[in-house]
């Protein structure tokens, strides 16, 4: 579903991402870990089509990244609030469905509003949302069209414990339904749901490694993270 080869990104002389390669098959979940500023969010921004790579290529569902097909096949949760301040929650979901060219989305939207506890605010402008509510809405926008590739950047940031559980369930369900999922997070307890883990080392990517192997070798993902991020 996602095939990344030699991805690089720099701003002037400042290198953010250097020669990153990995693949994610349908029905698999990859967790990208690493310290702040190591390039995780930049990598997802490139893969979502929001910014361009300085070098390297990536294919989404066999099509070049950035193409209309790739954009429609990708559900993206940015690491920002990611909402339009003057649109209501319901309008956000409708816009996301339209831009994904989704046909039957209303039932799914209603389910996501319910599960992500957005009923009380769905008719309010998103500018009035709390940070956690904005993150939940972003999650719903990524999931409403059942995109086969999900790029999820820090989905648990600012979300309460119940919300973390719900988002975890939704990601697992999406994977079970056949979606390829790329997740970044600093919540290593939540990252264990991933099938594979890759860790950024000074803008280079180590891995991916099977999560089970890392846990057997290091005991915890925190120990694996410390070892791999600071070799």
């Amino acid at each position: 579903m996602l095939d990344v080869r030699g991805l690089c990104r720099s701003y002037g002389d400042h290198v953010i991402v250097q020669d990153v390669s990995f693949t994610v098959a349908p029905g698999r979940m990859l967790a990208l870990l690493g310290p702040n500023g190591c390039g995780k969010s930049t990598t997802l921004k490139i893969l979502s089509g929001a910014i361009e790579a300085s070098a390297g290529t990536y294919l989404v569902d066999g099509q070049p990244g950035g193409s209309d097909h790739a954009r429609r096949a990708t559900g993206y949760v940015p690491d920002t609030r990611g909402v339009f301040p003057r649109l209501t929650g319901g309008e956000h979901l409708e816009l996301a469905a339209r831009l994904h060219a989704a046909e039957s989305w209303k039932g799914r939207a209603a389910e996501l509003i319910d599960r992500l506890a957005l009923e009380e605010v769905v008719d309010l402008p998103a500018g009035a949302y709390s940070h956690g509510q904005s993150r939940r809405l972003s999650m719903a926008m990524a999931l409403v069209a059942a995109a086969p590739l999900l790029l999820v950047d820090e989905p648990f940031d600012g979300v309460d414990p119940d919300g973390v559980d719900t988002i975890t369930e939704l990601l697992v369900e999406a994977r079970t339904a056949g979606a390829a999922v790329v997740l970044t997070t600093h919540l290593l307890d939540a990252a264990v749901i991933a099938d594979d883990v890759a860790v950024f080392q000074h803008h280079h990517l180590a891995g991916p490694y099977p999560t089970g192997d890392l846990l057997r070798e290091h005991g915890t993902l925190k120990a694996a993270w410390s070892r791999l991020a600071n070799p």
């Binding site: 954009r71 920002t80 301040p85 003057r86 409708e94 339209r98 831009l99 500018g127 904005s134």
Partner: protein
């Protein structure tokens, strides 16, 4: 004293830090130039007995005064709103005098124009000694306070009673005032001209300046973040149409856009009641100013969703939607401004419709390119959702007004060519920004 000096430095920092070098210099020049021109315009009236030999009349200078009035009225709508945030003030190290200054503005950045008050006073002093100094000071007070008053009042009006009732009420009050003045034999232009040549004018100026300050102080309350949408929009199926509808809805729901609409009605009415201004020029310059404000804030309408949107649509669709959205709003504001001027007897400039369309497009193009390269995150974290730094607003305004002057100065065919060329350059520049959206990243 040292605290006051530190506050001045802090004010300058907030005023200027967002601009890159050229833009910063331009912004300083534009602010000083505009205020000095305004000071000169008003002083010309105040000191007409002394300056009549120079051949400058009040009517000639009124459009400049109106331009500054619009700018000052719009400036409070541009702020970050952090002056109400004690943590932001504490973090910035603001002292008593700075807190006092920001009480009249919606943000630390807005307080900046107040730093140029001494410039007006100096021009006044150089022109006419102490009466000029006093007049300059009082006029600066008036301008800042009136800007704050009008910004706050129009924002409160549209939030509290809705844009339609606000428009009707404001237009009604101004029309009534103009009618009463005309009935008293002090018809358009005459009353103002007569008043400014009286010795008591300076006293009136000082008194009204103080009153305006008090009013501005009392009215300076944070505007609400968003206008509650009256009804949910239906998003069309086609992606581009969906994008366009969403952007138009975002602009029409913003407090800033709605208060700008009120300003577009107010300005020509006030200018018309005060002198022989030309309707067409009002429509053009209100369009240019308002569209510049909209354009400078264009990225903000998307908020953090800009990054999400970049992954969902092609760059060209996004740019086209922005140009169309801003053009529609700019054109709408031009029509509203011209119509309000027509209410008080000026002929609507229908024969200039092609030029109005061109100005709207030029203004939209001016808004495609931000005037600041690396805005600070705080500039975008406004709970009023009105984030453009002053340097950006002035840069965009200057490009917009510059293109307007060009469109009016040359034949229509050349105007079309010039606007088309400028639009092409702006689109290429904007596409580069969208490819490396550092400015957009700052939104988040």
């Amino acid at each position: 004293m040292s605290s006051a000096t530190a506050d001045v430095r802090l004010g300058m920092h907030h005023q200027l830090r967002n601009g890159w070098r050229t833009s910063r210099a331009f912004a300083i020049g534009a602010v000083i130039g505009t205020i000095v021109m305004h000071g000169l315009a008003m002083l010309t009236a105040a000191l007409q007995p002394y300056t009549a030999d120079a051949g400058i009349t009040v009517e000639q200078m009124l459009p400049l005064a109106a331009g500054l009035w619009s700018a000052l009225a719009l400036l409070p709508a541009l702020g970050g709103g952090e002056s109400d945030d004690p943590m932001a003030l504490a973090a910035a190290g603001a002292g008593k005098s700075f807190r006092f200054g920001t009480r009249f503005a919606s943000s630390l950045t807005d307080a900046g124009p107040g730093l140029f008050v001494p410039a007006i006073a100096l021009v006044g002093a150089a022109t006419a000694g102490w009466p000029g100094w006093l007049a300059g000071l009082a006029l600066a007070w008036n301008g800042l306070a009136c800007g704050q008053l009008s910004g706050a009042a129009s924002a409160i009006l549209v939030v509290r009673v809705g844009p339609t009732i606000a428009l009707v009420s404001v237009a009604g009050v101004v029309l009534l005032t103009a009618t009463v003045l005309a009935a008293s034999g002090l018809g358009p232009g005459a009353w103002w001209l007569a008043a400014t040549t009286q010795p008591v004018y300076l006293v009136v100026l000082v008194v009204t300046g103080l009153l305006a300050l008090l009013g501005g102080w009392a009215l300076n309350r944070p505007a609400e973040q968003v206008v509650r949408p009256g009804r949910t929009i239906r998003v069309p199926r086609a992606p581009f149409a969906a994008l366009l509808v969403v952007m138009l809805a975002g602009v029409s729901r913003s407090v800033m856009a709605r208060s700008t609409l009120v300003t577009a009605v107010l300005t020509p009415l006030l200018v018309r009641s005060g002198g022989q201004a030309v309707t067409a020029s009002i429509a053009f310059f209100v369009t240019a100013a308002a569209a510049a404000v909209l354009g400078a804030n264009g990225f903000a309408y998307d908020g953090g969703a800009a990054v999400w949107l970049l992954g969902k649509t092609s760059r060209w669709q996004l740019l086209a939607a922005r140009v169309i959205t801003t053009s529609i709003w700019a054109f709408l504001l031009a029509i509203v401004a011209a119509a309000s001027a027509a209410l008080v007897g000026a002929a609507p400039p229908l024969h200039l419709l092609p030029q109005l369309v061109l100005v709207a497009i030029a203004a939209a193009a001016a808004g495609l390119v931000p005037s600041v390269k690396r805005p600070a995150t705080t500039d975008f974290n406004s709970f009023r959702a009105q984030p453009a730094p002053v340097a950006s607003a002035i840069g965009t305004l200057s490009r917009s007004v510059g293109m307007t002057v060009l469109v009016l100065a040359v034949p229509l065919a050349w105007g079309i060519l010039a606007v088309a060329a400028y639009l092409a350059i702006a689109l290429v520049h904007a596409r580069r920004i969208l490819r490396d959206p550092l400015e957009l990243a700052a939104l988040s």
